[in-house]
Structure formats: structure tokens, C-alpha cells
Assembly symmetry: C2
Homo-oligomer: 313 residues x 2
């Protein structure tokens, strides 16, 4: 039997309120699992996709997991091919970096299959290629934390410059995923290509504050900085009950609460697990009052990124 | 003889490339000196102003030093009055926070005269009142570092929230002051009230990077983050030779270089004093090639803020 590796790659919260397109962090759940096998036949084959209700493309060249592995094989110029099974363990179109998680799981596994010819940082452009093909633009705020783990600042896209920010130990993330779906493209379209300078100034004060709060382990400062005057006011309209859910999170003691990526998932950060649990229950109740079912995920920041869950030689 | 205190308050570099209106730091020179005396007659009297070629208003209610002290006396509701002598030891209209330095020196001295009824943070709104009266708007990016010392992030203006950022030891600032003058109001007018979202994204990546670089003591990251795509491209046109001066600074080993506040002063940050000296000489040479005289100041970041230089009981 050929060598086989299964890897879990995490969901990610991007934007993180004030950090539109430049910040994201990984969580412990949900996430995707990719199982890859080395085969003699050249090419990349997506032999099984589960958990997506048949909605994702089965052609490897159109699926982010497939594209990332195709790019990987091109990059290392190796003979033979790779077979991929993709098990979606997280919702699609959720604002939790589903496409990035699939690509990261597959390419991270493929790299181990070939005895790690590339570093994690070298894998990142391959995942961005996949994101670009799937979403039209190569935003790194899901891909980078999914692959590198932790809390990531994308200082620059050109050249790509990712900065890992240490996270205080007691920082816990609560994610509410309402049973709704928002197309990333649509959530982008409702943003204008110009913003007021005064709003930009507000936003960059908060970005500086969030980075300082994380590195100084100042939970109150993190909380005060979790404000978004650019995307949230526009995107909140796409999520019925957003303001009630946010209010519920804050009343239950969250440091801050905003939309994860382009939504509809909503994240809150809290100091301590017990607060994060209460926050989750309050958010879920507020969501259900609007007649919308939801799932809750509670997790520390995932500092590890993808992890091998099984390996057969 | 009545009690008398003399205080030096430092010049400040605001904006710091990427941090338009939200970042600033204090230097050790230049700066202003205010001497204040407690008097029996109620009111605030500006009895002497030197070093300004007669250009600053002599009426206390129109001079930032006077206004700050008037606001101070209102705030503490004390009997008697204060006499101020203001010695300008720095250029006016330079982009180095001249008006803030005068206000900080005077109000810091007045507070000591009355046995410190107010904390530094409580003095800040008084200085902002003075800035507002003198410049039209109460920007805190000079006032806060001049008063609090160090490298300051203004996370929020409403409510005012200033964050002190520790600075790595070897970070040295070089300031070139060309013999030119730019009115702050004019430098503001050339900025548009709307900016491209993509430029804002670039800017907030850099702000996050600069804050992370300072707190992680990562000089390279500080250097990569010292980029301004919002104000510098427009304001550079007001400073003849800016691009040559910046190039000279970078070639001499500066981590980064940009306009201080609204200019015409130009600052560079370097790792080590000897590099900062070379950077200063190169900037001065480039400036003089354009036929413009200039002064150079080289200094560590001033973590202390204002300091008492003499005191008579």
C-alpha cells in the first residue's frame, strides 16, 4: 500500500473587527480533514469529497484542495501523483475560511508525503493560488493563520509579509455560526472602494491597539480595540439579528464581538473559558430568538495550525 | 520672591509614517522652556516670549502656553494667578509639535507650582484645548508624547485613549529641519477627505507592523513598516528635495524615513547612534544640494517627557 497522510487544518477568524484584510487567527475547531496518498500515475486526483452536500467542485483544478496540491507538485517538480480525499468538517460560505482550510490540509499533507521539501512559509503562496482561483482574490487573512497557526498580521501583500503575534493564554474564542450563507463576493461588493479618512484613522488606532493589547497581554485594551467602523456597519445588515447577538455577547462578558470574515459567522473573544461558554449560550439564544438555528464553537487560539491525525507507511 | 519653576518640554515626531493622527514620539531635542511664577493677582500673564522673532501671539488667551495654563486654573479652581515666560527653543511651523511643546512646558510647570493637583493624564485635555484653539483641531499625536514621553499610540480620540509603547533601546531618531515653513492647515487641506480602501488596508498592515516591531524589539520589522501611502505622497510635494533626502537617509542605513507631522521636518529612525549620525549628515548634504539650509537633531526616544530644569522656592 502507498504512503497515506491525514491532516486536520483549522477554521480561521479573519478581519478580527478592526483588521480588515490584514488580521486573522486559527481556532481548534471546526476544520477540514484531507487524506492524501502518493500514487504512481502523474497528476492530482480528488477521489472523494464528503460533508459538502455535493456542492464543491470535484475537478481538482477547481477545488482549493486540488489546486494547492497541483501547485505543490509543479513547485517541487516531482514524478508521480497524489490522490486526495477531502472531508469537510465545517460549513461552507460561513466566513470561517472554509476554502483555505481545505487547501491547507491537503497541501500540508502532501508536503509531508514528499518528506517536507518546502517550509510552511513556502507553502503559503500555493494556498494563496488556490484561494485566488476559488474566490477571485488572494487574501491571506484566512490562509496564513490556517497554515501558520496563531494570530497573524499580514503586514504587506506585496511582498507577502506575515507577522506572528503572541496571544495571551486566557484568550478564548466563541464562534456562532447561524444557519445562513453569505457569498464572499457579495459581502465584498457592498463595501465601497473609498472610505472616509476619519474612519480610516479610527480603524488604524484600533489596529494599533489590538496588536499592542495582544503583545502586552492587556485584555481590556484588546476589548477596547475590537471595533470596526468600515466593514461591520455594512455587512451586519446581511446577518439578521446581528446587533442583538453582539449585544448578548457583550452583556455576557465578552471583550469584543464582530463578524468573522465576510460572515455570517460571528466571533467573540473572552478572557477565560467559562466566560466564553456563557457568551456562546447567550449568542445562541439571541440567534434563536430570531428563528435562526446555529452552531457554537468554543476554542483557544490554535497556535499549531494544521496537524497530522494519522499516517500510514 | 514667589515660587518659580522652569520646565523643558520636548519636540515630537507625529504620524511616524504609517500612523497618521494616531502615533507620535518625543525626542530629547529640540524643545521649549517655560518659566512660571505664582502671583497674587488673578489671571494668566505672558510676560515674555523669546525665540519666536515676535511671531507668536502675546495675548495669553491666544498663545498655547497661555491657554493651557488658563484651562489649568479653571480646572483646579485656585485663587491667584500665574506669570509665564516662554522661551522657544525650536522652530515654529516645523512639523515638530512646537505649539504642543509650549503648552506642555507651561502647564506641566504650573501643575508643579500648585503641588501637582492633576496627573499627567489629567493635564492632557488642557493641552488639547490649547492645540484646538491654536490649530483648529485637537490632534493628540504631538500633545500626548510631549506630555507623557515615549512612543504613544492614540487608540481613540473619543474617549481619549493613549497607549504607551515600549521602544527598543538602540532606536535613534534623526531629524532634519529644512529652513522652510509649512502651515499645518495647508498641509491638511491637500489631503482628501476620502481615501481608497486598498490604501487604507496597506496603511493598517503597516501600523500593526510598526506596533508589533516596537513591542517585539524587531528593528527590521519597524523599518519595513515605516511606510505611508496616505499623507507622504501628497505632502512630499511641499518639501523641495524630499525624495532625494529620503533616499540619502535610506542609503546611509536608516530603517525608515518620512515627514514629521505635516512637515517640513523629516525624520529617520536608525539602529545605533553612529548610523543615526551618518544618516543625519547624508540628509543634510542632500538638502543643501537643493540650496536649502537645514538643522539636524539626533536623539534617543525621550521616555521622560517634560522635565524640570530649575526651581526656586
Amino acid at each position: 500500500m502507498n504512503r497515506e497522510i491525514s491532516v486536520f487544518a483549522p477554521a480561521t477568524v479573519s478581519n478580527v473587527a478592526c483588521g480588515f484584510d490584514v488580521m486573522g487567527f486559527a481556532v481548534n475547531e471546526p476544520g477540514d480533514i484531507a487524506t492524501v496518498r502518493q500514487i504512481d500515475e502523474p497528476g492530482v486526483f480528488l477521489i472523494n469529497v464528503s460533508g459538502d452536500d455535493g456542492r464543491l467542485p470535484r475537478e481538482p483544478s477547481k477545488n482549493t484542495a486540488g489546486i494547492a496540491v497541483i501547485e505543490f507538485l509543479k513547485r517541487i517538480n516531482a514524478p508521480g501523483g497524489i490522490e486526495i480525499e477531502l472531508h469537510k468538517k465545517m460549513p461552507l460560505g460561513s466566513g470561517l475560511g472554509s476554502s483555505a482550510a481545505s487547501a491547507v490540509a491537503a497541501v500540508f499533507a502532501a508536503n509531508i508525503l514528499f518528506d517536507k521539501p518546502l517550509s510552511r512559509n513556502e507553502l503559503l503562496p500555493l494556498v494563496l493560488e488556490a484561494e485566488k482561483a476559488a474566490c477571485g482574490t488572494a487574501h491571506a487573512d484566512n490562509a496564513a493563520p490556517a497554515l501558520l497557526g496563531g494570530f497573524i498580521l499580514i503586514r504587506s501583500y506585496n511582498p507577502l509579509d506575515t507577522i506572528s503575534l503572541a496571544v495571551p493564554d486566557e484568550l478564548i474564542c466563541t464562534i456562532l455560526h447561524p444557519a445562513l450563507e453569505i457569498r464572499t463576493e457579495y459581502a465584498r461588493k457592498i463595501l465601497s472602494d473609498k472610505i472616509f479618512l476619519k474612519d480610516a484613522v479610527t480603524q488604524w488606532g484600533n489596529i494599533g491597539g489590538l496588536v499592542a493589547g495582544l503583545l502586552k497581554k492587556d485584555y481590556e485594551l484588546i476589548g477596547r480595540s475590537l471595533q470596526d467602523v468600515i466593514a461591520e456597519p455594512l455587512r451586519a445588515k446581511l446577518i439578521p439579528g446581528f446587533s442583538e447577538i453582539k449585544k448578548a455577547a457583550m452583556s455576557a462578558g465578552a471583550l469584543g464581538c464582530s463578524i468573522s470574515g465576510s460572515g455570517p459567522a460571528i466571533f467573540a473573544l473572552s478572557k477565560s473559558k467559562s466566560t466564553a461558554n456563557n457568551v456562546g449560550q447567550s449568542m445562541k439564544d439571541a440567534c434563536e430568538k430570531k428563528g435562526i438555528n446555529s452552531s457554537i464553537y468554543i476554542s483557544e487560539i490554535n497556535n499549531e495550525g494544521p496537524r497530522v491525525i494519522s499516517q500510514k507507511e
